[in-house]
């Protein structure tokens, strides 16, 4: 029977692992190397190299060599300009569309480049199974890991990469959670665990509760644009500013390689030589302190979301190559007041966990169960550009949420639904995931149709949405398929901003609500004034000057409506409400007009 594997598709390195007799193993090449560098290179004759050979070509032919492609997954060109600046390869794409990467003479999307790496891992595993004497060594299914903080677009891009590589993607799972599974196997931990995952390009923190073999994620946080790459970049910039003139692509790659080696050296010894200059560990630590500090804030937010104090964490697990840096190790230990675990190789632990999960899926073995969460809130746009959250961040997946909508004008037959991801109040500040249209609503007065929108996030953290008009049962299902994902900066900014700008959001939201209320009072008043019964009502029931007063306050409210003076809008709304109260009563008593009675009581 064909084989199933677990894959850690990393920014810097990728690995493949499998389970044999209940225990996970990483698959190595003949020389014992488990890591496949996530580098793809095209020779002039069209041959595509992946891994070590591609990494070597980075020094000799950087313009035809692609690395750190994970940073481009699920992105648009607007999102990656800053990253592309330091890369030797071509990065292009149309505005609003997916990124395209030049590999030799050809262009590929990021999932296609990732698929080259996945195919290499698949071949490595198949060669291994062949050598083991397996009758059917083919690998056709895999669990692939992603950073916990990856959004819907990035997860979808990863799943697409698997498909392009000819793998059935059984499940997308989060890297820190996978790591906890690998640890859980060894020692049957119980209690509260923090997994600190600082890799080549991304940072994640997940807080889990483990009990009875159930690994329940309580909260997650992170930064999809923070990793060892950023540390390398600091060293590269430091070296290049010491030198005159513009550096060639070859020169930059040479310095990059030296920087990575210097970084490794300083995890073992207290000083090294970098580009012919002495570099001490103290100097290095001073240089990278801002980056290490940036990982601690997400840790605090994850703790707060889980409702826990740092001291309540029983164990801290370190994952990712960047956790080998002594400064990282020390600061994390300090924050949680616990000595971090590092028994398992931090480069291999994620792939091991992915293999464990693949085994659970294929065999249905119920000893262990992973319950993960969605990292970002999901919502839809409501009146006035406000985001209405439907599934909150850190909800256990799978999860559903629904919200009821109606039409704004009479006989409206279609409703636009705009799906968003992020923590902010205003639509403009969150990431747009998709728009879809519900058509064929039978013509009815405004406010009569009842459109229910339901979101379903599956166990992969990937979203589907359906909308249904309840009076007629008209239904639409859509797969939320975005053209690109959130930029790293945007995801980061969205959550940070939701803390920093909570106040500004609040004020803006209040203003919009006040305007909406004012608009509905204006609409109702105008409708009443236009009603065929109105002249009769006015002549029979009105006091002298009453009509004039209504018209004047109506004009007054319309005048202030466009301003951002919430107090004034509110005041004029109250005045107009008072001025039209008598009119509304008369109209209602006569029951001649549905205009006012059709609105709910609290609006009148």
């Amino acid at each position: 029977m064909a084989k199933v594997v677990g894959i850690d598709l990393g920014t810097t390195n990728s690995l493949v692992a499998y389970v044999k007799d209940g225990a996970p193993f990483v698959i190595r090449d003949k020389s014992g190397d488990a890591l496949v560098p996530s580098v793809v290179s095209a020779a002039p004759d069209g041959t595509v190299y992946v891994g070590r050979e591609a990494q070597r070509r980075l020094l000799t032919d950087p313009a035809r060599t692609v690395y750190s492609v994970k940073r481009f997954m699920g992105k648009g060109i607007e999102d990656v300009r800053e990253d592309a600046r330091l890369m030797p390869f071509r990065v292009a794409g149309e505005a609003g569309g997916v990124v395209r990467i030049g590999l030799g003479e050809r262009e590929f999307t990021p999932p296609e480049i990732s698929a080259f790496i996945l195919r290499e891992l698949k071949h490595r595993a198949e060669a291994f199974f062949s050598a083991e004497g397996e009758i059917d060594p083919e690998v056709d299914r895999a669990v692939i890991t992603v950073p916990a903080y990856f959004n819907d677009a990035q997860r979808t891009a990863t799943r697409d990469a698997g498909r392009i590589a000819g793998l059935e993607v059984l499940r997308i799972i989060n890297e820190p959670t996978a790591a906890s599974l690998a640890y859980g196997l060894d020692e049957r931990h119980a209690g509260l665990i923090a997994v600190y995952d600082f890799g080549g390009g991304t940072f994640d923190i997940s807080i889990l509760r483990v009990e009875d073999g159930v690994f329940q994620v309580l909260s997650t946080n992170g930064d999809t644009h923070l990793g060892g790459d950023d540390i390398d970049r600091l060293l590269i910039e430091r070296a290049l500013t010491l030198q005159a003139g513009r550096a060639s692509a070859e020169r930059i790659q040479e310095v990059r390689k030296a920087a990575i080696h210097a970084k490794w050296d300083l995890s073992e010894q207290t000083e090294t030589t970098f580009q012919a200059v002495r570099l001490t560990r103290a100097e290095f630590e001073e240089l990278i302190t801002p980056i290490v500090e940036r990982t601690l804030e997400p840790c605090r937010r994850a703790l707060a979301d889980a409702g826990l104090a740092a001291s309540q964490i029983d164990e801290v697990v370190l994952v990712g190559g960047s956790t080998r840096i002594p400064l990282v190790w020390n600061r994390v230990g300090e924050l949680f007041g616990a000595t971090p675990h590092s028994e398992l190789n931090p480069d291999e632990v994620v792939a091991l966990g992915a293999a464990v999960q693949s085994e659970i899926l294929v065999t249905g073995n119920r000893d262990m169960l992973l319950l993960d969460v969605t990292p970002l809130s999901l919502g839809i746009e409501t009146m006035g550009g406000v985001t209405s959250k439907i599934i909150l961040r850190n909800s256990t997946v799978p999860s559903t949420g629904s919200e009821m909508f109606t039409t704004a004008v009479d006989n409206q037959t279609a409703v636009d639904i705009h799906v968003l991801q992020g923590e902010r109040e205003l639509v403009a500040d969150n990431r747009s995931l998709a728009r879809f249209k519900l058509r064929g609503i039978p013509p009815m007065p405004a406010g009569m149709p009842r459109v229910q929108v339901q979101f379903q996030i599956d166990a992969n953290g990937i979203l589907a949405a359906t909308a249904k008009e309840l009076r007629t049962g008209i239904e639409q299902t859509i797969e939320v398929k975005p053209s690109y994902g959130l930029t790293d900066d945007e995801v980061e900014r969205m959550l940070l901003d939701s803390f920093e700008h909570a106040e500004a959001d609040f004020a803006a939201r209040m203003l919009i609500e006040t305007r909406n209320e004012a608009e509905s009072v204006i609409m109702a008043t105008e409708k009443a004034l236009r009603s065929p019964d109105f002249p009769e009502v006015a002549s029979r029931e009105f006091q002298p000057g009453e009509q004039r007063r209504i018209e004047q306050t109506l004009a007054g409210l319309k005048h202030v409506l466009g301003s951002s003076d919430r107090a004034a809008i509110q005041q004029w709304t109250t005045v107009l409400n008072d001025a039209t109260r008598h009119l509304a009563e008369v109209m209602m008593n006569r029951s001649v007009q549905a205009a006012l009675t059709g609105r709910s009581v609290d609006q009148v």
Partner: protein, 240 residues
């Protein structure tokens, strides 16, 4: 009939066509997972009594046990209908657990399924726009004080001058909130006592009505305090 009496509705198994009790997760005849169509409320789904004081350990244990029964991980090789059912049931379980875990959301949910928490209550952000009668005095005093403080701030007063005053002005409201917690606990006990002993409809209704009042007040207080906190964080210069 009290709410704890099982309701004898049934659901139909889409695999074998047999009938199953509404709270069952698996068909008693063919043992397949049942699709989610007619299900009981969150309490019944989790198999815990409809009480306001629930042992968190019991709830956790039920959540883990049910997750183990129908998580999508275990239906990978099943038929599409079973996979769909497992996804629906797991989603419903996660929603149920999240709602019942916190005492306040549990209470709000109970009021909803008992029919005393109306959509209108919800629409207003769960707190009345009108000042709840029980809070009139405190809110009136606080608003007066706030107006003066705003003038002070606008006049360029130093932060420490008005902050101490604001802190004092908040105290009666904070005290109300603390008193509230105690009142809620007492009401929780009364509700659970009635549910155990099958109290009269009138007694049940009285407790539910009192709970609804407390919830509206509580949300009102929270909105009020959140508003003050936001105002505090804002630099004096940006006030409208």
């Amino acid at each position: 009939m009290t709410s704890d009496t099982p309701v004898h509705t049934i659901q139909v198994c889409r695999t074998c066509g047999g009938g199953a009790p509404v709270d069952a997760h698996f068909c008693p005849q063919c043992t397949k997972i049942l699709s989610l169509g007619r299900q009981g409320d969150y309490f019944a789904f989790l198999g815990v009594p409809r009480r306001l004081q629930l042992d968190p350990a019991v709830l956790d244990e039920r959540f883990r046990a049910l997750s183990r029964q129908f998580h999508p991980d275990y239906f990978y090789n099943a038929t599409p209908a079973e996979r769909r059912a497992s996804l629906e049931r797991s989603s419903y379980l996660n929603d149920a657990y999240r709602t019942l875990k916190q005492p306040i959301s549990r209470m709000a949910y109970l009021l909803e399924i008992e029919g005393v928490w109306t959509p209108a209550d919800k629409a207003e952000g769960g707190g009345s726009k009108q000042v709840p009668p029980a809070l009139l005095e405190e809110v009136f005093a606080l608003n007066e004080e706030l107006d003066e403080l705003r003038e002070l701030r606008a006049g360029g007063a130093r932060a420490d001058q008005w902050q101490a005053r604001l802190h004092r002005a908040r105290q009666p409201i904070d005290a109300k909130r603390a008193a509230h917690e105690a009142e809620l606990e007492e009401l929780f006990r009364r509700w659970d006592g009635l549910a155990e002993g099958g109290g009269t409809e009138a007694a049940r209704h009285e407790v539910l009505a009192a709970l609804r009042e407390r919830l509206l007040e509580r949300n009102y207080i929270n909105n009020l305090l959140a508003g003050i906190e936001k105002e505090l964080e804002r630099p004096a210069g940006v006030e409208r």
